[in-house]
């Protein structure tokens, strides 16, 4: 087993463990903090895949903004944070069963795929991922439309969220 595989296994265990804590912790602020550690684990996985830009963006967007937003939202809706009420549905077993089935189904489906256990090759040493990403985002025959639509999507999210949350009646 190579060092990279060991790092992967440790990170994967950490990520999944934290993810499990996210969905089971009773205290919602703790759940949000566990989400942070899950997302950090995912960022490490991106770094392991040499996707530097995505790894840093993961930390910037998820830990820097989305986790903060979650904690703020938890604080703004504090009443149901009390830990004495049950946090889990009565028929949680059905959810667990469904999740397990989805996992089993996904693994079963993927196993039949020919590229399942593919291994990658090392990246060329002068590989400029960020530059290529920039070019892909703005060149007319690549992703310029999604690029602009993302802007509209963010605008819609901003306007919608402002309108929904604080429309004074």
């Amino acid at each position: 087993m190579t060092g990279e595989q060991i790092i992967f296994l440790i990170t994967a265990g950490f990520t999944l463990g934290s993810g499990f804590m996210v969905v089971t912790t009773r205290n919602l602020v703790h759940a949000a903090l566990w989400l942070v550690s899950t997302l950090f684990g995912v960022a490490v996985l991106y770094a392991l895949m040499n996707a530097n830009f995505i790894a840093v963006v993961q930390v910037v967007v998820y830990i820097g903004a989305i986790a903060i937003l979650f904690i703020f939202a938890v604080m703004l809706t504090r009443k149901d944070l009390r830990e004495n009420t049950p946090q889990i549905n009565k028929n949680w077993w059905a959810g667990a069963l469904l999740a397990a089935l989805v996992f089993a189904g996904l693994v079963f489906l993927l196993q039949g795929w020919s590229g399942f256990s593919k291994t990658g090759s090392a990246l060329p040493s002068d590989f400029d991922a960020v530059g290529m990403l920039g070019e892909a985002l703005v060149s007319p025959n690549a992703y310029v439309l999604p690029f602009e639509v993302a802007s509209v999507l963010l605008l819609a999210a901003l306007v919608g969220a402002v309108y929904v949350a604080f429309n004074k009646k």
Partner: protein, 102 residues
Amino acid sequence: MVPLSWYLILAAALFSVGLFGALVRRNAVAILLGVELMLNAVNINLVAFWRYGDVTTMTGQVFAIIVFAVAAAEVAVGLALVISVYRRRNTVVADELDMMKW
């Protein structure tokens, strides 16, 4: 080098954990936490397919970034809805939100 299958299995497991959270949590904020996990599982897959496919095609990374934008929009509007409902109904328990009967 880690084989692609490891990443795919991890992503599937993370997706299932997120799905479990989204299905069973009663608190609407916690449901959105579960959805975040699912979106991250998707992103792991996208980046893994970029890395193990043709690295000179940036499709996987571009899609991953767009998923970031979608996740941001989803969280922004979702939590705004939760806050809005909380201000009117004083609850964020999803089972108790039954205003829309029809």
